[in-house]
Subunit: 212 residues, 2 copies
DNA sequence: CTTAACATACCGACCAGTTTGTACGTTAAA
DNA sequence: TTTAACGTACAAACTGGTCGGTATGTTAAG
């Protein structure tokens, strides 16, 4: 006799099917780009049929939007927003996040999923663009808030503009991902991260370097 | 009677045909990406037939490689390498180049062609990747050489590593292009450039700010 | 005359999306 | 409690169009 769990995984489980579809679609899009991603490839990776996919998503575009809103947003939440809520000196938190960014060969090859989709789709599809822009804005606002917190704590230089500095950091991180992607070399990535960390340190108020 | 020019444009002119094909292909690839670019679109833009195109390029890939080697390499030469050969303080030259980067809405929408192709194709096609990597390396080496020149002139800080700093600058420039691309806002671009320029200034040796 | 530089018609593969059918699950009336 | 009705969640075969590429013919150039 089958347990309840076995029944659920062996037979219909729409929530799970949808999630598996999204995950596989995310991986395929991350590898091949949205235009290059094949529905059949996603289907083959999940052993789900076309009828099921189009039951859950009304088009390839809708699937793409869901990837941004559900998968990428969550990745970004886990890697940036949540760590930024912790305590500790803002600059130290940022250094920790940047150093902890995924740097396996696979990650370097494919680079940041947010960046990939932005490059490919934002000039082609306004629906994509607005969704991607929202993530970037949340990212920027999060970093800016953290910098402001540091300013009021007296650990971050007062003269810098938090919004602009946050934006600048994001540009560095994404640019570094691009360079490492062409080079396909972890060394390039690491050197870039070291330079970003060095720059982050320069944001601290002098004399406060060795605290926390 | 027809002038020499009319004869050349009205009848066969393989060099010109090839060049027009390349230019149109570049524009189309810049807009839609390599995978998204349609051969028929390129043909329509040039009033050239498929037979002519496949006479000059043996495949879509070969056309893509030629775009990198001929069009993008030249753009990059004109915008970076040549200006960097001029005289003047290295940092000032770099600031001038960065400020002079194209910032029309169209350029911001489509971003840097080198970055676009890198993001899309370097994980998918090794032939593309190596060609793109060569351009990035030439870029980096050029900037590094300029920084070294500044160091020997005493206008650039001695403690910085020219290769790493060059790479870092490139990452900033490309990252900034990405941010402006999602935002589709010239303001975002300009703020980023201002921050890059500020960072470039910080590379000068103190006390030498107001020379040249 | 030979060859390079085209032009035109066509092919086959691919691929997003549709159609049609089926089995499971839920609900509610009897 | 049974069962009939109905909606959800799939399965599988098919379609219409697109797109890269080719085969073959034609014309200009040397």
């Amino acid at each position: 006799m089958l347990s309840d769990h076995e029944k659920k995984t062996r037979f219909r489980d729409p929530k799970r099917t949808r999630k598996r579809l999204l995950q596989a679609a995310f991986r395929e899009v991350h590898r091949s780009g949205f235009q290059g991603a094949g529905i059949d490839t996603i289907l083959a990776a999940t052993n789900v049929t076309k009828g099921a996919l189009y039951h859950h998503f009304e088009s390839k575009e809708a699937l793409g939007y869901a990837i941004v809103e559900e998968i990428i947003a969550k990745l970004f939440q886990d890697r940036w927003l949540t760590p930024m809520l912790g305590d500790g000196q803002p600059i130290n938190i940022l250094i920790g996040i940047v150093r902890g960014l995924p740097s396996r060969p696979k990650d370097i090859r494919n680079s940041c999923p947010l960046l990939n989709l932005t490059q490919e789709m934002s000039p082609l599809d306004e629906q994509f663009r607005t969704r991607l822009e929202m993530l970037f804005l949340a990212w920027q606002k999060g970093v800016a808030a953290l910098l402001r917190k540091g300013q009021s704590q007296g650990t971050v230089r007062r003269e810098l503009n938090p919004d602009e500095t946050a934006s600048f950091l994001i540009a560095m991180v994404e640019g570094n991902a691009s360079l490492a992607k062409v080079a396909q070399d972890a060394k390039v990535w690491e050197v870039g991260i070291r330079n970003i960390v060095g720059w982050l340190r320069s944001l601290r108020v002098p004399g406060n370097h060795r605290r926390g």
